[in-house]
């Protein structure tokens, strides 16, 4: 009797185990780094995973950290499901943030009921427009969107930088920082004396919409067909180009909303460090969540937890906060590797004579 690895899909019961196995394996791999930083890995994982949840204040902070990640994760998922590899959510976030700022600073004498929806619409449209050119290039000219969307991220960042060092530069402090948005444009807080804001509810609503569209609607089914097999989708009479274009643009729009949420919920003005790579982390989250709305929500909360924990662990054990980034990056690589395991299973063979 011997064992053999065969290229047939893994049994159904094994699939949910794969993200879990990825997390465990990641911790095993990163333990070495923590040891090199002269800390006990088990202590470190305590601060990464348990400590943030042990107090109300830090638990709320996890949700604050998860808010932009829920949005960028949803944005990436929407594109990936439709077979469009949008790596440009980071740039779309900046486009949305810029639009929110431009609208928000002019809302001085306007009710919040008008100001906030206006900013959301403006941010969504800005994200969509930022996604439009690469999406058209993909659909009409078959130009690879991975490259174009990725490159546009730098362009977005430089444009924001130009704005902040030019017309929006603070005239008094000379800081590259825009004027503050109007008080009515600021997202209300969900819990007094915390940073948790309306954006979190918004993100949850978008996750629910994502779930609904992907699993309950004809358009969602078309998107999945296009993403999984463009040939078969075309054969079945689905307009592949149109479907892909819509999924790309909506993805960009959700990315824009993430930018609005950061401006109106956290910063109240535009700075060029508004996102420490939320758009890229969204790719990790969409992948970890296996392009499923609930999976994305869980993954965003998990990464939010590690982000919060990274602060505590560095304070408590004196290790660099970058360890959090390293863990996220390692997690993505391990997950991608582990996802391949879905295609295989181990079978027992009896030797034939």
């Amino acid at each position: 009797m011997s064992f053999k690895i065969e290229r047939i899909p893994a049994p159904l019961w094994a699939r949910p185990l794969i993200p879990l196995m990825a997390i465990v394996l990641t911790f095993v791999l990163t333990a070495t780094l923590i040891l090199l930083a002269n800390a006990n890995p088990l202590d470190a994982y305590y601060y990464f995973l348990i400590d943030p949840l042990s107090s109300r204040v830090s638990a709320i902070e996890v949700l604050v950290k998860a808010t932009p990640l829920l949005l960028t994760g949803a944005a990436v998922t929407f594109a990936f499901v439709g077979g469009y590899w949008n790596i440009g959510v980071e740039g779309q976030l900046y486009a949305g943030a810029t639009a929110a700022t431009a609208i928000g600073i002019h809302m001085q004498n306007v009710s919040a009921w008008i100001a906030i929806p206006l900013m959301l619409i403006g941010g969504f449209v800005a994200g969509m427009l930022w996604a439009l050119v690469p999406a058209l290039m993909k659909v009409k000219l078959a130009i690879d969107e991975v490259v174009t969307t990725l490159l546009l991220n730098s362009v977005a960042l430089f444009m924001v930088s130009a704005l902040l060092n030019g017309p929006w530069r603070n005239p008094i402090s000379q800081w590259p920082q825009s004027p503050d948005i109007a008080a009515t444009a600021i997202f209300p807080k969900l819990i007094p004396r915390s940073r948790l804001h309306l954006g979190f509810i918004l993100a949850l609503v978008i996750i629910v919409i994502l779930w609904f569209v992907l699993t309950k609607t004809a358009f969602g089914l078309k998107m999945r067909a296009v993403g999984l097999s463009p040939h078969a989708a075309q054969f079945a009479g689905i307009n592949v180009q149109q479907t892909m274009l819509i999924s790309a643009l909506v993805s960009g729009g959700i990315g824009g909303i993430a930018g609005v949420s950061e401006i109106a919920g956290i910063h109240y003005h535009l700075i060029d460090a508004i996102s420490p790579g939320y758009g890229y982390t969204g790719i990790i989250i969409a992948t970890l969540g296996t392009l499923n709305a609930w999976g994305v929500a869980l993954a965003a909360l998990f990464i939010g937890l590690i982000d919060t924990g990274a602060q505590t662990v560095s304070r408590a054990l004196g290790v660099p906060t970058y360890l959090g980034d390293v863990i996220q990056a390692a997690l993505l690589l391990v997950t991608l590797g582990m996802l391949l395991l879905q295609r295989y299973r181990i079978t027992r063979t009896r030797s034939e004579s």
């Binding site: 089914l221 078969a232 075309q234 079945a236």
Partner: protein
């Protein structure tokens, strides 16, 4: 022939699963001859040659090269005993030069002296009379030039036996002429060539002897001079008369439902794949389109499916013009489509129920929201009706080929289409599933559907079709009633010999 044998393949037996691809085949190749290997699709030509070149291993049998038993386990062994092979898909690296491609994998030592290599390649080019430009990049060369590089590569490695797998399939007529001149010259220098082909004209022109394979067996070896295209066609197809099992003998009198007028289209490489196709299919008729694979059948099916644009001509269903209108409108005109590649018509990762609804999602949707219940009931109904072994929630990927084909069949036939475009419907299916699919097609014919059956399986066409059209290099060679279709004539037509030339 009195010359010694360059290659002797004796009792070569090879099985793939339950399929015997080579059934104790004997094949002898003389030194300095061009020897054709002729046969239908799946007759075992390529299998036999892959065994000779070490790509497959025979289950039993022996190979003798120049009088000595040879054990050929890999192409490396084949090259070592002087066998070279040129396939339809060239093994060249496009960004490298001709010289680099030729010496690739055939260099000793670590360092490469490129100037020396260029000189030697130029020398070989001169000696064998195969003009190539050593310093040219392969990506800049035409298909014919690339083929010359492949041939020179084999000769440079001291091949004295050259296997050419359908070398003319990729060439334009002028290139074919040049190739034949080169082969003729090389033969005079003592090279032996095995020439795999379906094309009788070419075989008659270039070869000394012909070995015909049929269903994995050697159907005979003949001298080209003493044979004729009709005899070869008869040997290839191997049936004297056909037992037509259908009920109706007389052609359908139904009205013309599907009409193609002078349709032309390009293949994926942008070369003409269909030229001037004119066909009519009547209600209650199965028109079988016969032909050797790669003669435009795939493109014709795609043109009718709405997934490939025509460059000229018109396609009509009754009075609707469906030329270049796309899949949705083609279906709306009452055309059901069962394509050649099952995997390109279903989404493997979606469920049976979802795939069954995919072509008409609007009917399962209210205000954009899918109605799970109707989706499920629809699937259950079809699964029961078509005896599909699956449940509605199973992913298509998990189904066997037969069940997958039944899903596609159910999706198409439940709508009682006026026209059915069906390509290679039983390819890869077991006997039971094959019978089922064929039965369903005959049932639709009784109901009055106009069916275009595209198949490379001649038996299938003979069993089902009322009328047979033969396609060759993108053109319809002839259209004849099934009752009048004789083996010899079909074989000739499929090999590109026009009916009026027979016996001339």
């Amino acid at each position: 022939m009195d010359r010694p044998n360059a290659i002797e393949m004796r009792h070569i037996y090879k099985r793939f699963g339950s399929l015997v691809a080579s059934d104790h085949v004997n094949f002898m190749l003389c030194q300095g001859e061009i020897h054709a290997l002729l046969g239908e699709n799946g007759a075992g030509k390529t299998t036999l040659m892959r065994i000779l070149y070490g790509l497959y291993h025979a289950d039993s049998g022996e190979i003798v090269v120049n009088g000595q038993a040879a054990e050929i386990k890999s192409p490396k062994d084949a090259i070592a005993v002087g066998i070279g092979m040129v396939t339809q898909h060239f093994a060249l690296v496009p960004p490298l030069t001709v010289t680099e491609n030729i010496i690739l994998g055939y260099t000793d030592g670590f360092q490469i002296n490129l100037n020396e290599a260029h000189r030697r390649v130029a020398e070989a080019s001169e000696k064998f009379g195969i003009p190539v430009e050593p310093k040219a990049l392969v990506k800049d060369l035409s298909v014919g030039q690339r083929q010359r590089v492949e041939i020179l590569k084999a000769l440079y490695r001291n091949a004295n036996v050259l296997i050419m797998d359908e070398p003319t399939a990729v060439l334009v007529p002028q290139e074919v002429e040049q190739l034949f001149e080169s082969l003729e010259r090389l033969r005079r220098q003592g090279l032996s060539v095995i020439f795999i082909s379906h094309k009788l004209n070419e075989v008659m022109t270039i070869t000394d002897r012909v070995t015909v394979l049929r269903l994995g067996e050697n159907a005979g070896t003949v001298e080209t001079q003493s044979t004729s295209p009709p005899e070869l066609a008869r040997m290839m197809v191997g049936r004297e008369t056909f037992g037509v099992t259908k009920t109706a003998g007389k052609p359908s009198q139904g009205k013309i439902v599907l009409e193609l007028a002078q349709v032309a289209a390009l293949d994926n490489k942008g070369l003409p794949a269909l030229k001037n196709i004119t066909l009519q299919v009547r209600a209650g008729e199965i028109l079988g389109l016969a032909g050797v694979s790669g003669n435009g059948q795939t493109e014709l099916a795609q043109v009718l499916d709405g997934t490939r644009l025509v460059t000229a001509g018109q396609i009509k269903v009754l009075n609707h013009d469906i030329t270049n209108v796309g899949p949705e409108k083609v279906m709306a005109a009452g055309v059901g489509r069962i394509p050649e590649d099952r995997h390109e018509s279903v989404v493997a990762e979606l469920s049976v129920a979802q795939n069954m609804a995919l072509e008409h999602l609007d009917e399962f949707t209210r205000q954009g929201v899918l109605n799970k219940k109707t989706l499920l009931e629809h699937a259950k109904k079809l699964i029961a009706e078509y005896q599909i072994k699956a449940s509605p929630g199973d992913k298509i990927r998990t189904l066997s080929g037969g069940n997958m084909q039944k899903v596609i069949l159910a999706r198409v036939l439940e709508r009682n289409p006026q026209v059915i475009i069906v390509a290679q419907p039983t390819r890869g299916l077991d006997v039971g599933a094959t019978e089922y699919v064929r039965g369903k097609l005959l049932e639709q014919r009784r109901k009055g559907a106009a069916i275009l059956l595209i198949s490379e399986d001649l038996d299938e066409i003979l069993e089902l079709a009322d009328t047979i059209a033969v396609i060759y290099e993108g053109e319809i060679m002839d259209i004849l009633p099934a009752a009048a279709a004789e083996t010899e004539r079909l074989g000739l037509l499929m090999s590109g010999v026009k009916a009026d030339k027979v016996g001339a």
